[in-house]
Symmetry: C2
Subunit: 199 residues, 2 copies
DNA sequence: GCCTGTGAAGGCATTCACAGCA
DNA sequence: TGCTGTGAATGCCTTCACAGGC
């Protein structure tokens, strides 16, 4: 369920003293209806108490469990330009137990460059690092033209899930789960509605 | 419709010589069904030719029109850390006619810093820049703790749409359209399916 | 009384299937 | 024959509404 991370974020934004939430309250924070919240949460099991609400800490724990937050995930990044570097040192990943364990680039001038507490390595090292550090997730932050071949290299190295930040559509290698984050598209959606409402 | 940008990207990935596409072909590239493609495109008007397919260039143009790609959009960024800097010089925005026209931060040590061809300015300059350069869109790349107040400041300055990259949920100021890009959530979705499939 | 859990109803998006046109 | 455009059917997600506990 795609809304669970949102609920988790909402729960975290609650004042530390608050030990209970109602579905109404959560719904208002998350920007959805209370019925949706209740139905979503009921899939995790019946953790709410009728007439009272949900216990904040318990709910956080259960959502975390559902999302796989109880373990670390190792992640490699290919394409250490501006965006790749930013993601490499993005604090939000650590907090969600995603650990960046390898940085790769095709440009020899970047080899040895330090980003955060990692060193940029050549693509030839990809497989060794993926195996050794047990990475299952890869992020692509190369230019669009390189993304497809990098995806294949990641797959060959043993990566099972890819998050692609390169603009452009690429085909998912066999047996690999692929998601895109298209930054321009996000802005496009905004501009679309802006125009519609007379921007 | 959220899939139009994807179709556009697919059309752009076609070899330059190709002047026509069928809904089947586009569907395969975009990872959807051909019926969906046809229904989506039929909302733009009937630009396909039965028995032949769609004219690539014409379709690109029509989708671009629908998405508002015929004009420039001015964008400001608040929070010039790693991510903010990366977005400030992200080439993909220019290509989609999003022009970054202002960089802002609360940290005086960042004032005057050059990023791309812009200079980081204090928040006090926000309103002036927004008005002068006619920005309607703002991106928030601050830490989570600052995001809510920055959103309000953007709204007060005249920004109508906000893209929030800060982790955590914030409430949309009155009259402002708010979207979130939660990088950790994207990874969480991947790890969720990884675990489900025995990762 | 209050708030959750959940069947039932409703609405929206997807898919089907085929008529229509090149 | 090939492929689009589109009503009809399907299925899924959301919303409603209320019974059931605290």
């Amino acid at each position: 369920m795609q809304r669970l991370p949102v609920y988790l974020r909402c729960l975290e934004s609650l004042p530390p003293g608050q030990s209970r939430v109602s579905s109404d309250e959560l719904a208002a924070l998350a920007g959805v209806t209370s019925a949706k919240v209740r139905k979503d949460l009921s899939y995790l099991g019946s953790y709410g108490v009728r007439g009272v609400g949900y216990e904040v800490e318990h709910l956080k724990f259960q959502i975390g469990l559902e999302l796989g937050l109880e373990r670390d995930w190792s992640v490699v990044i290919v394409g250490i330009g501006n965006l790749g570097s930013a993601l490499a040192s993005y604090a939000g990943f650590i907090e969600r137990r995603f650990r960046i364990v390898g940085l790769f680039d095709r440009d020899p001038r970047k080899y040895g460059m330090q980003v955060g507490d990692l060193i940029v390595e050549p693509m030839e090292r990809l497989r060794a690092v993926v195996v050794e550090r047990e990475a299952l997730i890869g992020m692509i932050t190369t230019p669009a033209s390189a993304a497809q071949s990098v995806a294949q290299e990641l797959a060959d190295a043993g990566i099972r899930s890819i998050l692609n930040f390169a603009p452009g559509v690429i085909q998912s290698p066999e047996g690999v789960d692929l998601r895109r984050v298209d930054l321009s598209t996000e802005l496009q959606v905004l501009s679309f509605y802006l125009r519609r409402n007379g921007g």
